[in-house]
Symmetry: C2
Subunit: 370 residues, 2 copies
């Protein structure tokens, strides 16, 4: 009778995923057959010897781009091949990670001309401790529960409490930038304040109407998702923050408009003088349009890259055509791809997508805090 | 060796579905146990003798309501228990069916105070010929392909061509009511013109702006879906047209707004003086809001029942609570339940639904024409 240990099973699956990934990379990057075969032998030997392997810089770069291309919920995938990859697998301390994140923010922000980028921190499973970034996004506003309701972003209430337990104190404004929380292995996490120089923000205003009267709204320039796991060829990167630029509705419809977020529709409607006594006045729809118009206008005015949902949907159609030409299936999750405003006015709404998992990929993982 | 014929398999499944259905009806309508057991024996005997069975008027009525309650794509289900059921299982000719459909239209229209109703025509599988209504909805506008594009409703182009092949000639306006096409068994279908008295229509106007300048838009008052199959306790009703009242976005966003339908956004935007040279002006979103506002306003003005999508979503939340109280799961298809305008401003958007099939149910069936 033979018995198989779970380490052997892990080794086996790493092997098969590595083989699949290396074959795809070789094909897509036009590698010579001999070189591809040699690299394959090398990786298999490394897995046999150590149980894992490490990517070449080229594999890392192309793998990260493939993960973006395979992100079923992302409408921005046309630009999958235009992303800067920071190889920070050598980072060995929380301070080194923080420094890398600041470099990422500076590069991505680029004075407003946002550049898609990813910072890849050490991989898991090679015996060394990995890092986790506790933040959902590198830039994000705190949320404080009070008897009068939440001040700030209700989505951040739980994480803000954790930062406070770790000794952080925010100013208590509706737009306090949360500190970065970086954890190395099982050690207690370390907190770092983000210098204002690295957190570009956009004050919001409407081109014609004072929709924000009584509430100075703003938002940050760059969305950097920092809590997802990047999986490439069987190797897991638990910390690999990435950014694109914003699609306007993410801010105008969801972050500022959702009842469970900043909930600004009643205020905007009041400032517009809309009749909020009846649903049928479509005051929410009107307030949403003006809020979204304000977001697009303000980012333009500030010289910060942003895309409206119609243009994003058109770009996604080009992506679909490109992929078809390249002989690849486009997978997608319809419910995330449709924009939250006027979805039926975009082509995405009228199509269906297969929400199949394709590797390399970005994965949700359990938060490192309870 | 035993062999089972497909008739026996059919009989078996009718049996088990009938038993399930009868048990639910007995429970929901508070039937005495003795009466329920007697009815059950009666139905099983009828299936054993004839391979099928027929519903009592009470079973038919409650079963149809349950089918509405189980309609995963329907946001209007709060009112599932308030529907008038026309039992027209005795209809024996195309003319009798047409007369029944006119009675349905008159009842449902009710001078504008729309009443949900269903007309149930003979069941399938009992050896007699059934009817099929070829129309998608009882009231629907023709669509004519021309070199200058489609005149009328592009969604009707195929069916309009079929009506023409059957000898019908429309006037060629953008809003020609299609004739009713009723088929009995394998016979050629018969066409019937709907008298104007039975087709209430609403001329569309905007309360403040002339959004329809250059195009007199209107829509019919009552949506009566006529191409779905109703299944109750294993019995199939291939013709069972049903109606509710409209949710505004069905007309304002989809029928009139969709590019592949009346495609009115460019015209409305032009009439509003919007900048259509840039997606970021949100001209489509603005045109959609005003188009939807016009629809709601016009139906109100005409005294025709209509519900806006916010109110419909709130009513659906009440339905969900009611069902929970009644100990029943609410199934649903998220992609159909969310309204096509400002979906994230409704609670449906922020929930998930299980799209499981529950009987009794409405089913899509193959069109009776090629
Ligand atoms: C370049 C501009 C980009 C745009 C306009 C864009 C747009 C979007 C939007 C609108 C969403 C849905 C967000 C939500 O509803 O919460 C999304 C999700 C996503 N995007 Fe992109 N994206 C861009 C760049 C990127 C990049 C660079 C990556 C990775 C390298 C990426 C990967 C993803 C992933 C993994 C998700 C799903 C997030 C989750 O599950 O929470 N996107 N994107
Ligand atoms: C009383 C007012 C009603 C409202 C406001 C309402 C609303 C809606 C809406 C908005 C849809 C989606 C339509 C689309 O996107 O094409 C829908 C679908 C549906 N509704 Fe209702 N509904 C009502 C009454 C009814 C009734 C009386 C029934 C049946 C007895 C029903 C059964 C269905 C079914 C089966 C669908 C799916 C249709 C398909 O698959 O094409 N609804 N409803």
């Amino acid at each position: 009778m033979q018995s198989t240990t779970s380490a052997e099973i892990g080794e086996h699956s790493t092997q098969s995923e590595a083989k699949l990934f290396l074959a795809r990379v070789a094909e897509e990057t036009g590698m010579e057959e001999a070189a591809a075969a040699a690299r394959r032998r090398e990786v298999l030997a490394e897995i046999a010897a150590t149980g894992t392997y490490s990517h070449t810089p080229e594999e890392l770069t192309h793998g990260a781009k493939m993960a973006w291309r395979n992100a079923n919920r992302c409408i921005g995938r046309l630009f999958w091949n235009r992303m800067h990859v920071f190889d920070e697998r050598g980072a060995a301390s929380e301070q080194a990670v923080f420094d890398a994140l600041l470099r990422h923010l500076a590069f991505a922000t680029n004075g407003g001309e946002i550049r898609p980028a990813i910072t890849i921190l050490p991989q898991a499973g090679d015996g060394r401790d990995t890092f986790r970034i506790w933040n959902h996004q590198l830039l994000r506003y705190a949320g404080y529960e009070s008897t009068a309701g939440v001040v700030g972003d209700p989505a951040s209430v739980g994480f803000t409490r954790i930062c406070e337990r770790l000794g952080w104190r925010g100013e208590g404004t509706p737009f306090d930038l949360l500190p970065l929380v970086v954890q190395h292995g099982g050690k207690p996490p370390r907190l770092f304040e983000i210098p204002r120089t690295h957190a570009l923000e956009v004050p919001l205003s409407h081109p014609e109407r004072d929709v924000f009267a009584g509430f100075s709204a703003k938002w940050y320039a760059v969305p950097v998702i920092s809590d997802m796991l990047l999986e490439i060829g069987g190797i897991r990167y638990p910390a690999a923050p990435f950014n694109g630029w914003y699609m306007g509705t993410e801010i105008g419809s969801r972050n500022l408009g959702d009842e469970a977020r900043y909930n600004l529709l009643p205020r905007v409607a009041a400032n517009l003088g809309l009749d909020t006594s009846s649903n049928a006045s479509l005051w929410k729809d009107r307030a949403l349009v003006e809020l979204n118009a304000a977001v697009l206008h303000s980012y333009r005015l500030a010289g910060v890259t942003i895309v409206d949902h119609h243009t994003a949907a058109q770009q996604f159609s080009v992506f679909e055509r490109n992929e078809e030409k390249a002989g690849r299936d486009v997978t997608g999750r319809w419910s995330w791809l449709i924009p939250p405003m006027s979805p039926s006015a975009t082509s995405v709404f009228h199509k269906s997508y297969e929400d199949r998992i394709v590797s390399p990929q970005f994965l949700h993982q359990n938060p490192p805090y309870a």
